[in-house]
């Protein structure tokens, strides 16, 4: 199959850290743009979390010491050759290095400049630090999650806002390229992660502005359709036991710390804890009266053959009763089996997919959503790992291949030759002057503060990966 690279020839110079902007420039890289990430010692590039997030895949790197005059001068020369320059640094840092939007546009007026921050600049909160979860809370997400009586919930990700902000950044940059093609003009873009969340729930904001009322929290229910909920299913071992049925989702998990030796190696003895874990659920949503009749027939529960439930108003009024009947049915079935039976009957339903499920998700696998990344040095015991691509592309093209992340400075010579026409001797001189950097990446280990969940010691077998011995050889 052919490759699809609609941004071939577009040059992006990115001063980026953390996850938000890197997620956006990764989109451009997967679309064929030449994305050069400017690295510096002590940054987050090449660390555990950056590798896990795949934010360096398909990108090049150059190491520039911006504290030196020669480094600043070199950065300005690269800016003049770029189509897009973007950053997610705090404004004072950029001014210090002469890389604020005004300075950049002065170098090249037709440049596209994007700056990304938690709350947006300027604004009264411009200097407030933020992580994805804090802007999700501020932007209207958490307050609209969960049951009316619960405290606000949070999104089970930690980087939901970062990912979304990265995508909006890609949108803004592509639109700026479209505009420059038509007008020849550059653009300065300031993106606020906070506003990204507001925009994603913008319909609820407009509704509140219109009615003057906060929307009610409905948990998993819907205002227009019923029944709709998430129901517990039997685990892979068959119907759940009585002890399991009232257990908390995390009870059977052990922390990574209690199961691993300092080197992060696994042993067979660690394999038992999570096998009894049952945290399997099914989402179901009846969208029409016809689907309700199909569901009723499938469940075979005569108490549901009540004419009061034929219309959605009646079903909304007696939602608890319907939920009990559905939950009794799902409790005896594995989530995949329950979903398949409901879909065969034409009822919208699907398994609540956990991280352990999605790498084996038959739909994602059939569509080539995962591409393999081969790394020269082993990472957590293996040379090869699957990573997700963008999640879309042309019908008749392969998903983009993923090139591994490069150590900071690995592309110094290549970029300086291609962008500035510098010779190897020029590059050596810049290295001697201290303007250019090369950083040997530290060995990637799992830092203790990343242990936020449960480890499945059986994951390698489940995913069909070679064992450590094979990987080490």
């Amino acid at each position: 199959m052919r490759r699809w690279r609609p941004l071939r020839g577009v040059r992006v110079l990115s001063f980026e850290a953390a996850f938000s902007l890197p997620a956006g420039t990764r989109v451009l890289a997967d679309l064929g743009a030449e994305v050069v990430r400017v690295g510096w010692p002590g940054g987050t590039y090449g660390t555990y979390i950056a590798v896990i997030d795949g934010i360096g895949l398909n990108k090049r790197t150059i190491g520039i010491d911006l504290r030196t005059e020669a480094g600043k001068a070199l950065a300005r020369r690269l800016v003049a050759q770029a189509d897009i320059v973007c950053n997610n640094f705090r404004p004072p840092v950029l001014r210090q290095y002469g890389l604020d939007a005004e300075a950049l546009r002065a170098i090249k007026p037709e440049l596209i400049v994007l700056q990304l921050s938690g709350y947006g600049s300027p604004g009264p909160w411009q200097d407030f630090p933020a992580y994805g979860p804090s802007v999700e809370a501020a932007g209207g997400m958490n307050a609209q999650m969960g049951e009316a009586g619960d405290p606000p919930m949070r999104v089970g990700s930690g980087v939901f806002a970062d990912q979304a902000a990265g995508r909006y950044a890609a949108l803004a940059l592509l639109d700026a390229l479209t505009w420059r093609r038509a007008s020849g003009e550059g653009r300065t873009i300031d993106l606020s992660m906070y506003e990204v969340i507001v925009h994603l729930v913008g319909d609820t904001v407009l509704a509140a502005a219109h009615t003057g009322e906060a929307p009610p929290r409905r948990g998993n229910r819907d205002a227009h359709h019923a029944p709709q909920a998430i129901y517990r299913c039997a685990g892979p071992g068959g119907p759940r036991s009585a002890a399991d049925s009232h257990g908390r989702a995390g009870d059977h998990h052990q922390s990574l710390a209690s199961q691993t030796t300092p080197g992060g190696q696994w042993s067979a003895a660690q394999g038992r804890a999570s096998q009894t874990t049952n945290d399997d659920w099914l989402a179901l949503s009846v969208q029409s009266d016809a689907q309700w009749r199909a569901l009723r027939t499938l469940l075979g529960d005569e108490t549901l053959a009540d004419p009061a439930l034929d219309r959605v108003a009646g079903r909304l009024a007696q939602h608890d009763r319907i939920d009990a009947a559905i939950a009794a049915w799902t409790a005896g079935l594995e989530k995949g089996e329950a979903a398949a039976r409901l879909q065969a009957a034409g009822v919208p339903a699907g398994p609540v997919q956990r991280p352990r499920d999605l790498p084996l998700d038959e739909q994602l696998l059939a569509r080539g959503a995962y591409q393999s990344v081969r790394r020269a040095t082993p990472l957590l015991g293996r040379h090869e790992h699957a990573h997700l691509t963008l999640g879309w592309g042309p019908v008749d093209a392969a998903r983009p291949p993923l090139e591994p992340e490069r150590p900071i400075g690995a592309d110094n010579r290549r970029i300086l030759r291609r962008w500035l026409g510098l010779s190897a001797a020029d590059v050596r001189k810049l290295e001697r002057d201290g303007a250019l950097l090369r950083v040997t990446p530290p060995e990637v280990t799992v830092p203790p503060n990343q242990i936020i969940g449960a480890v499945d010691p059986d994951f390698a077998r489940r995913l069909g990966l070679p064992d450590e011995v094979a990987a080490a050889r």
């Binding site: 999104v155 009615t211 609540v352 963008l390």
Partner: protein, 384 residues
């Protein structure tokens, strides 16, 4: 750019809304008589979904089941850069509007097809809804509390994210065509797959070393205190990732808990019944925005847990001009969030959804050059 919009419900209209907000010309094509099924919900008080999703678009009607309707559609295709649709897989082909036939109308056309699970694969024809897309794509499994069921994310975010990815793909494809790198492309956007990609960190963690994110305890999470606590005037989100407990406790006014024994988060979790009441009283002593600003000074990433009504008063959003007045179906005006970035070319189109067929004369007459008589005949036949 001119975009021909054959979308309805949520994901497709969100994609073309983004393009319309960016100042591109969007022509929304609807079924004569009824239009986008979301229109009918406007009768319900407070249901502004259709208005939100279809602002700044022009509206025409066209019956795609009729030969004459399809012929007119192809004439519009010839005048457009991209077509965006979100029918079920195979529907466009049944209408005689496959990518191949659209390319006969315009060689360089970009066709963006948005579906729940994609144009291919074993779940291609699965029925879905917002909660099903969120659940099958991920994130929901880890949302909610450990002692309860997984909880859906707010609103229609999975469909919105599907639409966002479709808008990105469409812009990229048109740029590729304009740069001469290709001649027309059919894009396959799966909402499920796009949403799953937004959970890449946690899928990747499992693939790399078997680590799974799980739902948290509502009482005392991984910081050793709950992340969401009542302040004086609403909920406050407390995140202090790299904070030392000693300085953090002092900041909250909990000096009596600074002593040894409290610095470990597991100890705080285990003895939450002792710490909890003082912790909650301390947070409740100040307003949520007051805490937010004070925490920011210390480098802590707190946040007010604001709902839609609070957002309308946000000093940051108001200072940044993040709202633009939109006109709703009942003629009233309300502030509506703008795109979350600056620098956009101001859209010329009005910030409201079109009435059904409002721009028929303008588009079929102006753009395609049909006469008033021809328009009247099409109207009488029910083609438009």
């Amino acid at each position: 750019m001119r975009i021909l919009d054959l979308t309805h419900y949520v994901a497709g209209p969100f994609a073309t809304l983004l393009l319309a907000e960016l100042g591109h010309e969007v022509i929304k094509v609807e079924r004569p008589g009824t239009g986008d099924p979301l229109r009918s919900r406007r009768a319900e008080p407070g249901d502004v979904a259709f208005d939100y999703l279809n602002r700044r678009k022009r509206g025409v009607t066209l019956d795609l089941k009729r030969r004459r309707g399809r012929a007119l559609l192809k004439r519009l295709v010839a005048e457009s850069d991209a077509v965006v649709e979100n029918f079920r897989p195979g529907t466009m082909a049944r209408f005689g509007l496959s990518f191949r036939s659209l390319r006969r109308a315009k060689r360089e056309i970009v066709l963006t097809s948005i579906t729940n699970f994609g144009q291919t694969g074993p779940r291609r024809d699965w029925a879905a809804s917002e909660i099903v897309l969120q659940a099958t794509g991920g994130i929901v499994a880890a949302s909610g509390w450990a002692n309860g069921s997984p909880i859906k994310l707010a609103g229609n975010v999975a469909q919105h994210i599907g639409g966002l990815n479709a808008a990105i793909a469409t812009l990229a494809a048109v740029l590729g065509v304009q740069a001469g790198l290709e001649r027309g492309v059919w894009l396959d956007i799966s909402i499920h797959e796009a949403f799953a990609a937004h959970w890449a960190r946690h899928i990747s963690r499992y693939i790399h070393h078997g680590l799974e994110i799980v739902r948290e305890s509502p009482v005392a999470g991984k910081q050793g205190f709950p992340h969401t606590v009542q302040a004086k005037n609403g909920w406050l989100y407390l995140l202090a990732l790299r904070a030392e407990w000693e300085s953090f406790a002092h900041f909250l006014g909990l000096d009596e808990f600074i002593s040894h024994g409290w610095s470990d988060h597991e100890a705080r979790q285990a003895r939450w019944s002792e710490l909890g009441p003082a912790f909650q009283a301390a947070v409740a002593s100040r307003g949520r925005l007051e805490w937010f600003a004070a925490a920011a000074e210390r480098g802590y990433t707190f946040a007010p847990v604001d709902g839609p009504l609070d957002l309308l008063d946000s000093p940051q959003l108001l200072a940044r001009g993040a709202f633009a007045p939109a006109t709703l179906g009942d003629g009233s005006e309300a502030p509506c969030p703008r795109l979350p970035f600056t620098g956009v070319q101001a859209p010329a189109a009005e910030n409201r959804a079109p009435r059904l067929g409002e721009h028929n004369a303008e588009v079929f007459g102006g753009l395609l050059g049909l006469s008033a008589d021809e328009l009247a005949a099409l109207n009488a036949e029910g083609v438009i």
